[in-house]
Symmetry: C2
Subunit: 144 residues, 2 copies
DNA sequence: TAAAATTGAATTGTATACAATTAAAATGAA
DNA sequence: TTCATTTTAATTGTATACAATTCAATTTTA
């Protein structure tokens, strides 16, 4: 059995998987001064934009479920970056919002994207193409 | 603070992270009949090509370390797909090779790539471009 | 309106991931 | 040749991920 389609080099999934992991790993040194992991960082990105968000909204935006988010949000709360409160109007919903400390952390994070961009060896147009193709893959999925 | 560079939509890392996770997740139904997870599957891809490989070689090819591979390889051994033996010439090295059952699993796996490709909503040239850009990112990293 | 269905988080269980450390084996230098 | 160094896996500890289940709150329906 030759099966060229089973060769690692013929998979599209693999460089996607490997590149994603490598990028996440290389974020760590830049995120460590903020006391954030990569996943915690993208949650903070949403909150810096939205100010307030419940768990299911976070999950939809970030492709994460409550099994991942619940413990992660408890950690962010323990660090003092966010508050978790039940919504008055619907006690099922957990509302997540920034503390003053969480808000001020945004200033320290401002330099992270530039530092990371310099790690990725792509030209601006290449990066844009990659971005577009990745979103096309994602949207092709959500279409189901 | 406006900080456009901190918006989720301006990150290249995020669609990479999300698309990778989604693809991995969508492999599961196709891999379940093989009793393989995604990571176990890519280990098998290497072994179907190489026949024999030690842990550090696997790690280099797949961007995984021994902390991930050691327990994963023990599971593949427990399933009866691989053998783990110390090399005669250097007892530090653990040689991983296919059993007859692991080898014959290749036949059942042959249809997986085509099934997955149909999940990804890209034209052939788009997929090729994506592939090339992802490897460029990966190679830019290994250059350090 | 009371029961059924749905929704939103939390919990449980399994499987990665990776940093840091450990331990054994092999190599190299004095 | 002996001891320090290096190499290779394994182990430990922390942090995701996600499927499946549970549980409480809300909504829908008969």
């Amino acid at each position: 059995m030759d099966c060229p389609q089973l060769k690692l080099e013929n998979q599209l999934c693999f460089p996607l998987y490997a590149a994603s992991k490598e990028i996440t790993r290389r974020y760590a040194p830049y995120l460590e001064p903020l006391d954030l992991t990569y996943t915690q960082y993208i949650v903070m990105l949403v909150l810096w934009e939205e100010k307030k968000c419940n768990v299911s909204e976070l999950g939809k935006k970030l492709f994460l479920d409550s099994g991942t988010l619940t413990p992660l949000l408890k950690k962010l709360e323990a660090k003092g970056y966010i508050q978790r409160t039940r919504e008055q109007s619907d006690e099922r919903c957990l509302s997540v919002s920034l503390t003053a400390e969480g808000e001020s952390l945004k200033r320290k994070a401002a330099s992270v994207p530039k530092s990371m961009a310099s790690c990725v060896n792509l030209s601006e147009p290449e990066a844009k193409t990659l971005y577009t193709l990745l979103y096309k893959v994602l949207e092709g999925f959500t279409a189901e």
